[in-house]
Assembly symmetry: C2
Homo-oligomer: 470 residues x 2
């Protein structure tokens, strides 16, 4: 955790437009000019006062070549914390160019969670070199975090924390704070952990409880013994849900023997929450969940191609249904005009159901306890809207082509497809979720296949029977 | 802010499955049975130990009639904080049934931000009655919050906070805490605000800085004078972005004269972030952003209908393009089989671009400073993938229908439509954003119109020229 203790606001206001909060194009242009001119003083004057988050945003707005150059020109004044605020591609752009010694020095300035976030971006060989260049204690701590699987609590936690024995008094804890060198304590902290001699977590005392207590009170008398804790290997998104659900601000991390190994604070969790939401939105839109605005052109073209290619299969499958009714289409060209309406309206309705289902699964609002109720509700919604749109489109079709039969066929097909779409829209994501496949990524192609095939098949099939085509 | 100070974890484990973290169906069933039997003791034994968040989740899983009954059976033991954890419909289900006196009593137990969240759900008449039943001081404070526009900082903030004059020493502040009745102080707090006699905010001191300071140190010497603050009338989502960007844990709220009026803590902001993400996901999926899993069947059917109705317009527009080529379709039925592929592939590609654009606008990553670059990148991506899929679909079409010319027409139309889709996918949401219309809600119907009309129009138009149909 690193709240903005020292930085002053006024100068940052130059970077962001006061009205919109957007980065100012003229500020970015000034930095670009200074970088191009290799004018280190000008760069520092503009960039040094920025908060790490704004520095990160600025770096993202620079071109590929300007990024490492900015770091070079800033020298020791570059705030490596900014790299925790940028996308992976940008981070790689910079880390590739920065010498190992500079990185090792930067690590010492960062808190352990931020240092780990940078270390995990390095190639294994570089990572080992940076770790070698660090003092033994820092090296051990960072290694332990790096051993945790990516995305787990062990990676999110920071290891700098305050732990005291239960028999200390509140006054002794306060004396301890005052007597301790500031840089041994975390930059910001809200609670003191209480541990036994084996470093097993007994409970915690929030600072507000500590300052309210009489100085003679024992820590064990004011600690919360039942404090929620997470295991080292817990999934980051699970940790985030726990923070959200119970309105937590921080949570201690323990190993398999209940020993305290670190603490996760809410600022890191906010990033996890925001990232999970972004990934879900992108996946639902058919975009690689890890695509970022700063990714290279070719990477984006390729990753979009892959998803479109999968969907092309769906489109040809639907087309082959159309082709199997070639005769009927030739005999009655109105069918070719109307069929896409049935397919697209079914697709839109199914996408509504799928979106609601995927979101409810992600927020754990959809569980075995209410699954059946929601399935029937969606089925009912699909059938009812199917009937409504069957009526509307049937009337329009009958009038448009002056053919009452065509309207009746349209109505039946619309009802069939919207009902099928609702079923597909809820069952497909639920099935993927049960199989531990991310429903946001995989559902839409399958759901569209259902509504395309059912839409064309039911409309043309019913028409064939109704008008005795074939 | 209300971290879970008092509640014990073990009993809650009965509510959630230890493995999956999902609510247990048997627990819910047991509560339902006890409610149906009007067995108040059984209900209390099951429900009273639950954390407010789990109680909220439980209430959501109950039927409409069981919800107010649960509140009635719980009596004074019902934790009204749970109502801040449920959806609007559920909250209304309950609030309609609960007597005004009970609500007024509940308000006194809640912190001001939670009390406001409940109050704003009431009808104006009931709201006035509850406020009347409160002591004068609480009434004034809550009224002020309610005067703030919905979704602004004034609504999110809580008003219980600690403010001290700059000339106090750290030791005096600690003595003040110890001498103050616990229920006058906030339940949890991380910082002490420093104000002048006119209650203008001078700065803040975090508790960790306070406990580290020598007791004789003046507050003004350890306070952060440049602490970020927000105005009473700032948009909630803007406040959330500020928390995210600068890793804040709390932020003071000031009025137009820079007077301190409240404090917003991160737990409330996490809810704003999660809700904004949910609304964006639903809007992109064609669902009313405010639809919740617990909404009534009829409300859902109607709100889904509205969006589908708008899209039906799009579908008929596309169909009328098809109809204008009726002659050509009749002469060459292969065109009817292939045209939907051009439209759907363009729609998928445009949806990718639109999703990325909407997300980048929501996270403020897309600004004037990088707009042109992103527009050209998306245009390039669309054109390149258009060429790639033109080649692929062209070869397939030529072979499928044994007609080389048809393959060439397909290739040209695919290139045209994916390029047009990329343009639409980025320009439509940017335009809506500029017009202050939520791009997540409004873009998709327009973007699909672009790709449907361009897809059908270009494919059939080029075919008409190529094969001299007409």
């Amino acid at each position: 955790m690193s709240q903005d203790h020292e930085k002053s606001a006024p100068l940052e206001r130059c970077f962001r437009d006061e009205e919109t909060g957007e980065p100012r194009a003229d500020f970015v242009a000034a930095v670009e000019t200074a970088i191009a001119a290799e004018d280190a003083d000008a760069v520092r004057a503009l960039v040094a006062p920025l908060h790490e988050a704004d520095l990160g945003a600025l770096i993202e707005l620079l071109g590929h070549e300007a990024r490492p150059k900015l770091v070079e020109l800033m020298g020791a004044e570059f705030d490596f914390l900014a790299l925790t605020e940028v996308g992976e591609t940008t981070r790689e752009d910079i880390l590739e160019e920065v010498p190992v010694e500079t990185l090792a020095e930067a690590m010492l300035e960062l808190e352990s969670d931020d240092a780990v976030a940078l270390l995990e971006m390095l190639e294994p060989k570089e990572q080992a070199q940076v770790l070698e260049a660090l003092p033994a204690h820092e090296r051990v701590v960072l290694r332990r975090s790096l051993e945790a699987a990516e995305g787990t609590a062990g990676r999110l936690m920071q290891t700098t924390l305050v732990a005291v024995p239960p028999f200390w008094t509140a006054g002794e804890v306060l004396d301890f704070f005052r007597a301790t060198e500031p840089d041994v304590l975390p930059d910001n902290f809200f609670e003191v952990f209480v541990v036994d001699p084996g470093y097993r977590l007994l409970g915690t005392v929030f600072l507000d409880a500590l300052v309210r207590a009489h100085p003679k009170t024992l820590v064990e008398d004011i600690m919360q013994a039942d404090r929620r804790r997470v295991r080292f290997d817990e999934e980051g998104e699970e940790v985030a849900r726990m923070f959200e659900r119970y309105n937590l601000v921080s949570v201690p991390v323990v190993d398999e023997a209940e020993r305290l190994v670190g603490v996760i604070t809410i600022d890191d969790v906010v990033d996890v929450i925001q990232e999970a939401a972004s990934e879900e939105i992108k996946a639902l839109g058919g975009v690689n969940p890890h695509e970022e605005l700063t990714d290279s052109f070719w990477w984006i073209v390729r990753s979009r191609f892959v998803w479109l290619f999968v969907n092309l299969g769906t489109a040809f499958l639907a087309a082959s249904v159309l082709k199997s009714f070639e005769n009927q289409l030739q005999q009655m060209v109105a069918l070719a005009v109307l069929a896409p309406i049935v397919a697209s309206q079914g697709g839109n309705s199914a996408t509504q159901t799928m979106t609601v289902t995927v979101r409810a699964l992600a927020t754990r609002q959809l569980s075995r306890a209410n699954a059946l109720r929601i399935i029937f509700r969606e089925l009912g919604t699909g059938a009812l809207n199917g009937a409504a749109f069957g009526l509307i489109t049937g009337l329009v079709a009958a009038n448009w082509f002056e053919n009452v039969g065509l309207g009746q066929v349209m109505a039946l097909a619309m009802l069939t497809n919207l009902t099928a779409g609702a079923l597909g829209g809820i069952l497909v994501p639920m099935l993927f979720d049960r199989l531990n496949i991310d429903p946001a990524v995989s559902s839409s192609a399958f759901v569209t296949t259902v509504t395309d095939v059912t839409g064309y098949g039911s409309f043309l099939g019913i028409a064939t029977l109704w008008f005795r085509l074939g």
